[in-house]
Subunit: 402 residues, 2 copies
């Protein structure tokens, strides 16, 4: 196991400086029990020495593809749960694909494999020891039968290029990717893109999940949307992700779950504009209501198998929309757009370290799609966000015509 | 017209001190147009000199029963709209029942009728000149055909005692009252109580409406629920309340609209407890989702004519729940309950000037009702709020068993 062999070597000074913080954080997280990080190494060893681990060929091997803030938080849970459910999952090793970066002269993968902390994207919170950072994406997915895609959608095409041909027979995937894939009058969710490209079934997970709060084991909920008649896959993903503090609901609705995760970012931009304008809570909640309704109507109009109950009943629906409009980068950056008068590309550099603000890019994708379908008039809030963010329309026209 | 005759007398020193603030606020509100407060007096005069005002017997006469924060904000809109729609409403005079109080040695009704400001409950924001404060409730409703009930529900029974026998034939009412009327295993909304007692049809209005934001003409939405086959009444109330910045939606669902307005306060208490515990946005939005779902299930289980779409589509549903969980006294006081450790009766005195916190009292009503129906188990969040607020259960058990 690479993580345990690494941890016996003397840590570098950069890594040594992290260790006291790590110890403090470990002490603040849930007390040790058989599934917590402290005991994972021994639990994993016990599990891997069981005869069933070699005899039972049906065990799923998990790989996490992406290691940003959310990828790291999800890897932390998956690393714990494969041990808890070692009858179902190969538990000794959960490969985590990490886009290699140098941090203070050290490779990020080496830091993760030594300290078990993703110092760049989820500082202070330890991953399980069985989560192994791997810089080569093809190696990370080698032999994996349960692929978890969790990355900004801009990186997916390149990741799929590298993965194609390396996926095990009978594998299945789940997409935690936000956004929509628009080409002219065609629109696809990224679970469809993965499914089509790799020829494997792909579910979707989305919910009111600020990554750092999930990692700190604050009570949270999420939704897994599974494909028609594939509840067994939903149950597998539930097993991989559910904890007492991270509740996983299941619904047969990959489209609705995925689209909620994309479109709520557009609504969060609108909420941020409203905050920047100082409009108060009546206006903000009106915008959220209208945004939720446009989301529901959009899903039902353009996708066939969407379940109407996803929007009110599921965490992926109303709850994620609420979280995103209360906190989150889309709301915050849109607020700054109004209060500072700076354009979004400047704010992306200043506030997001150069990362793209998903809400405004999804607003553009949705605008282009609705324009191609000649349906802009039916979605006045989505359209208004587009024109304010991309077209120079004054922000204080936000509620006009809603 | 008592208001204009009063305004020609020299104002008292107490009132003179308000006038500069009033002028400043008037200047900040929407610019004068034929329906704004500045021009109401002349508009009202023009209207009342039209021959139609005496010939057309079908004109509705509005009375506002209650003059707290929300009552005053609604009276402000109604005073403007009766002028705008003087073909439908008697526009020269909108009686506003005011529970008489002494403010700096002056009667509150005299202050309102002189300055056109409810200095106690909606300071700084002028009412229309045609809104006339009246301390005698029977006189306030004399001849009125459109009765707007807007008061804490604790005062309703006494108000109805005084009104009974003074209501004009063919009158209709609308309830803006929050709460539920529970007796053992019976539950009623207050629109039903009004309807039964006065023998007149009663609609309901509820929505994401923080009174001060509505009064300041921030973009807001609300919902009017009207009785089965009585859309004409819904349209009348829409005419009385709708403005470009206060959008009134209609739905044939008095029960759902009323119950949302009551139960959201229980959810807001839960959200406040979560805030007090420092649980973050994932947890808070999970609580809001669960609360909205319990609200919907409660309405559908115990009331016959509730429309499922009220909860997601209407301002009275999801939007009001959001506003109440973001701001509002229920959230704030429940947060203080956790952070200060003080009991609610102390917090009601310290934070609410002795007024009752609706959410905890509705939680008790709902608990008693569900207990009588042996249905507590189906509403774990409502039940948890009751036990934490009234029964000494530790607040940090809030999310257990949800």
């Amino acid at each position: 196991m690479s993580s345990s062999s690494s941890s016996t070597a003397a840590p570098s000074p950069a890594i040594q400086s992290i260790l006291p913080r790590l110890a403090a954080v470990r002490a603040h997280l849930a007390p040790p029990n058989p599934t917590t990080a402290r005991n994972l190494a021994s639990a994993a060893l016990t599990s891997s020495t069981k005869p069933t681990s070699t005899i039972n060929m049906a065990k799923d091997k998990v790989a996490i593809i992406g290691s940003g803030n959310w990828g790291s938080a999800i890897a932390r849970i998956a690393g714990q749960n494969v041990v808890k459910h070692s009858d179902v999952f190969e538990s000794s090793r959960v490969p985590l694909w990490v886009f290699e970066e140098m941090i203070d002269g050290k490779k990020l993968t080496d830091i993760i494999n030594t300290t078990h902390i993703n110092v760049k994207y989820l500082p202070d919170i330890p991953l399980s020891d069985n989560v192994v950072a791997i810089p080569d994406i093809a190696k990370a997915v080698e032999g994996a039968t349960a692929l978890v895609f969790v990355m900004p959608h801009q990186f997916l095409a390149k990741a799929l290029d590298a993965i194609e041909g390396h996926v095990a027979p009978g594998a299945k995937a789940i997409s935690l990717i936000k956004g929509v894939d628009v080409h002219g009058s065609d629109i696809h969710i990224f679970a469809d893109v993965i499914e089509k490209r790799l020829g494997i079934s792909c579910s979707a997970l989305s919910g009111a999940n600020i990554a750092s709060e999930v990692a700190l084991e604050r009570f949270s909920e999420t939704t897994v949307g599974y494909r028609k008649d594939k509840e067994d896959e939903g149950l597998l993903w539930q097993k991989l992700f559910e904890t007492p503090k991270f509740r996983v609901q299941l619904i047969e609705d990959v489209d609705g779950v995925s689209l909620c995760g994309a479109l709520k970012n557009v609504v969060a931009v609108a909420a941020g504009l409203s905050d920047g304008l100082g409009y108060g809570n009546n206006t903000k909640s009106a915008i959220m209501r209208i945004g939720l309704l446009e989301t529901k109507n959009f899903c039902l109009e353009f996708f066939n198998d969407v379940k109407p109950e996803t929007f009110l009943q599921e965490s992926a629906g109303v709850a994620d929309l609420i979280t995103s409009c209360l906190g989150g980068r889309n709301r915050k950056t849109a607020e700054a757009f109004v209060t500072t008068g700076k354009p979004f590309d400047v704010l992306e550099r200043e506030m997001l370290g150069g990362q793209k603000l998903q809400g405004i890019h999804t607003a553009m994708d949705v605008h282009n799609f609705l324009k191609a379908r000649n349906r802009l008039g039916a979605y006045p809030l989505f359209d208004k966000v587009y024109h304010i963010c991309w077209d120079g329309l004054a922000a204080d026209t936000l509620t006009d015509g809603l």
